[in-house]
């Protein structure tokens, strides 16, 4: 039977519409699942509202009508670096493997064996995914528009070029990766392409470094080079850059670049579709792999590395002869185990790359706020940590993994001791990282004292510990299966558990003290009480948990 591309596309479009309709119907029957889906976009929406609010409150602030060259060059340089990095890494990897992430398990199981032409399926999926990604990307673009408009003059009408650039670049990258892979496997020219990509990358870096010689101001020279004649003549990169930075430049609209990028995209997509008649093997292997990784992460099985090693056939060498000294008995066995695993995977029990990152971040913030006041630094920490504390501690909590392993239930000993032992290593690491990330600010910041930063550190540590223990309450209240309610409720539980401290801190700042440091201390002290209460209740809470899966 002859394939009819139009009919195939209609079928695929019909399936998509059916899925959309079913999702809509399901959201009426299961509103919590719908809220869970909405939560994914809640954060960008909140950011947009926040930045919009900032824009409105700062409306009297006069911005110059034209952005300075330094501002435009900085944005342009960042865009050029990002595009070059993304394209060159994708091309380099594409020579050896094609790892499509666009297909789902149901695509592999039902659409691949169907009579729908692989070419039609490929083109449809690439376009569909690029459209979806631009919908999510829109939030980012709007957010950056509002944020950027606080310091830059932005032409709202030209935002359309940014959206089109993101959409076309998404298709170009996907098509290019597939095209390169097809060329390398069919014509056995992978090694030549790899040499070309590597050679071009080395040439770019060498040219960039060479251009910096003798510069008085390295930053200005670097941004000027990245926006200079050479980089502005690299096809695709320069066109995309011109479109992305167009809202902040005063020049004419980048219509030519848009046209060139569109023609290139169509050409690339045409050739990719032309070659797309034999990709099912790679696509199904890759889809199966990503599915396993997703399941592993979702169920916190901790076997992601094993799955990755199975696929590549390369085993990561792990030190076996690791010892943790000290006498550990009963619940202490969990401390020994955590310490041993930490030493094996990271080389040390308590320090890791995150400690180095925390130290570097603290030093950087201190340097940036060299002359800033404590209030400004505390505000920055409060805002950024507030956003992080909603997700990180829950993800880092070792309790979820231990509950899955069931030994926490089966081994003898008081639940409280076992829970504290399970948390001990992570809790100590958190304390060290928070101290490194806060106290180090004082190295450069002249107006901030170590004692003041210590109050920030206490607040951060107390928040993380509280959320760690909140996992216990969450596990007790929530079923082990996730029917859409879990993500939603964990925020509510966190909010309830943290609320006494937040309310006390707000009241203290209104009625008792104007000192930010004192407010942080009030917040931490109330959380210490909450932590003690949760620890005292932990035996009872644990006895109420049921392990369904």
């Amino acid at each position: 039977m002859r394939n009819n591309a139009f009919k195939d596309c209609s079928t695929l479009f019909y399936i998509e519409m059916l899925k959309f309709k079913n999702r809509l119907v399901d959201s009426f029957h299961n509103p919590l699942a719908a809220i869970k889906s909405l939560m994914k976009i809640a954060f960008p929406i909140a950011l947009i509202i926040l930045s919009l609010y900032n824009k409105i409150t700062n409306k009297n602030k006069a911005l110059p009508k034209v952005n300075s060259n330094v501002q435009i060059n900085t944005v342009g340089a960042i865009v050029v670096i990002l595009i070059c990095l993304i394209l060159l890494t994708s091309l380099n990897n594409a020579v050896e493997k094609y790892n499509p992430t666009e297909f789902s398990t149901s695509d592999v199981n039902y659409l691949f064996p169907s009579p729908i032409s692989p070419r039609t399926l490929y083109a449809f999926t690439i376009l569909k995914k690029s459209l979806f990604s631009i919908v999510m990307g829109l939030f980012g673009i709007i957010y950056f528009y509002f944020c950027g408009s606080v310091v830059l003059t932005i032409n709202g009408g030209k935002i359309l070029y940014v959206i089109v650039a993101f959409f076309l670049m998404s298709i170009i990258r996907k098509s290019m990766v597939f095209l390169i892979y097809s060329l390398s496997t069919r014509f056995n020219i992978g090694s030549y392409i790899k040499i070309l990509v590597k050679g071009f990358s080395i040439f770019l870096v060498a040219y960039f470094i060479f251009s910096l010689r003798g510069a008085e101001n390295i930053y200005e020279r670097a941004t000027a080079v990245l926006n200079g004649v050479f980089f502005s003549n690299i096809p695709i990169v320069s066109w995309a850059k011109a479109m992305i930075v167009s809202p902040i430049t005063n020049g004419v609209s980048p219509a030519n670049q848009t046209f060139l990028l569109l023609i290139t995209t169509l050409g690339m997509l045409f050739f990719a579709v032309f070659f797309a008649d034999n990709y099912y093997e790679e696509a199904s292997t890759s889809t199966e792999y990503y599915q396993k990784i997703r399941e592993s992460a979702k169920n916190r099985r901790g076997d992601g590395q094993r799955i990755a090693e199975q696929r590549t056939g390369k085993k990561k060498k792990q030190r076996i002869d690791v010892e943790v000294s000290g006498k550990f008995k009963g619940a202490g066995a969990f401390i020994w185990k955590q310490a041993l695993i930490s030493k094996r995977t990271k080389g040390t029990v308590l320090l890791s790359w995150s400690s180095v990152f925390a130290l570097a971040a603290g030093l950087f913030i201190g340097y940036t706020f060299k002359n800033g006041k404590f209030e400004a630094v505390a505000g920055l920490y409060g805002a950024s940590f507030g956003a992080m504390s909603l997700t990180l501690p829950v993800k880092l909590s070792p309790l979820k993994m231990e509950l899955r392993k069931q030994y926490l239930f089966l081994l003898p000993g008081r639940a409280r001791n076992k829970i504290l032992s399970v948390y001990s290593v992570t809790a100590t690491t958190t304390l060290i990282n928070c101290m490194l990330g806060t106290i180090s600010v004082c190295v450069f910041a002249r107006n901030v004292s170590a004692l003041e930063m210590l109050s920030v550190c206490f607040a951060m540590v107390a928040t993380v510990y509280t959320i760690f223990l909140a996992v216990l309450v969450f596990t007790l209240l929530m079923p082990t299966y996730d029917d859409g309610k879990n993500v939603f409720f964990i925020y509510i539980i966190d909010a309830i558990i943290l609320s006494p401290a937040i309310i006390s801190a707000v009241l203290a700042s209104i009625f008792i003290t104007k000192s930010v440091q004192a407010t942080f201390l009030v917040y931490s002290s109330v959380l210490v009480v909450v932590i003690i209460v949760l620890i005292l209740l932990s035996d009872w809470l644990f006895s109420k948990i049921e392990l369904l899966t």
Partner: protein, 243 residues
């Protein structure tokens, strides 16, 4: 009458309004293997989890050597081998045993551990990380971990699912060895052909209720089956009767 090491009396477990297990009573004698069978959703895993205290029982009693199963001393007598051998990927086989020994306050465990590994042909895998082991191997490690504190009763949930024939044979031999040492095993399974040569007695659950119990011969007599009736035939007969 021989004393029972594990006794389940009128056990019930309800999820919201659905009864997963209803008034189930049975016991395990020392040195016997009992198969807990039943169709999907019969309540096999729920029963085992209630015995272990992983799920709270709604009604009834679970006694280990005459004591409530949730008591600390009962934990020393019980061992659980779950369906999915979820061992720690970044601990070696030997470190798993060390972890268990620490948790159970066992001194001088090394000789016993060597013995256990030898018995399950894991000596050469002693320094292998959990993430590098096959499912069959992980299942064996799970059993070795359960053995280190010398429990009396083993509760094993669907141990044969996903194993290749060689691993099934090795595992069954391992269970028989445990029985010969006087340990009692309650094995939940719906792989009846594998259970047939292994279990001394069989308990059949359906919709949370115990519908048949006894040796293969006793079940045969109950349903008037022929001498050649397999456990599968008897199972189908018993569960059909209850429709």
């Amino acid at each position: 009458m021989e004393a029972k090491v594990l006794e389940i009396i009128n056990l019930s477990k309800t999820f919201k309004k659905n009864a997963a297990v209803e008034g189930v009573s049975f016991g395990l004698k020392k040195g016997e293997i009992v198969g807990l069978t039943g169709p999907n959703g019969a309540g096999k895993t729920t029963t085992i989890k209630c015995i272990l205290g992983l799920l709270r029982k709604t009604k009834g009693e679970v006694l280990v050597d005459g004591f409530d199963s949730t008591l600390e001393k009962s934990k020393y007598k019980l061992a659980y081998i779950p369906e999915t051998p979820d061992i720690y990927p970044m601990l070696t086989v030997w470190e798993h045993l060390k972890f268990m020994a620490m948790a159970y306050y066992i001194e001088d465990w090394e000789r016993d551990a060597e013995e256990i590994l030898k018995r399950f042909d894991l000596t050469d895998k002693k320094n292998e990380l959990g993430k590098n082991l096959s499912k069959g191997m992980r299942q064996k490690v799970s059993i070795c971990c359960a053995l280190i504190h010398k429990p009396e009763v083993f509760l094993v949930d669907e141990p044969l699912v996903g194993l290749d024939p060689k691993a099934i044979r090795e595992l069954k031999d391992g269970f028989k060895k445990l029985r010969d040492e006087g340990k009692s095993l309650l094995i939940s399974t719906h792989m009846l052909d594998s259970a047939e040569g292994l279990c001394d007695r069989v308990i059949v659950l359906k919709k949370g209720k115990l519908i048949a119990e006894g040796t293969i011969e006793e079940l045969r007599a109950k349903v008037h089956g022929s001498e050649n009736s397999s456990l599968e035939d008897l199972f189908l007969e018993v569960t059909q009767d209850e429709e």
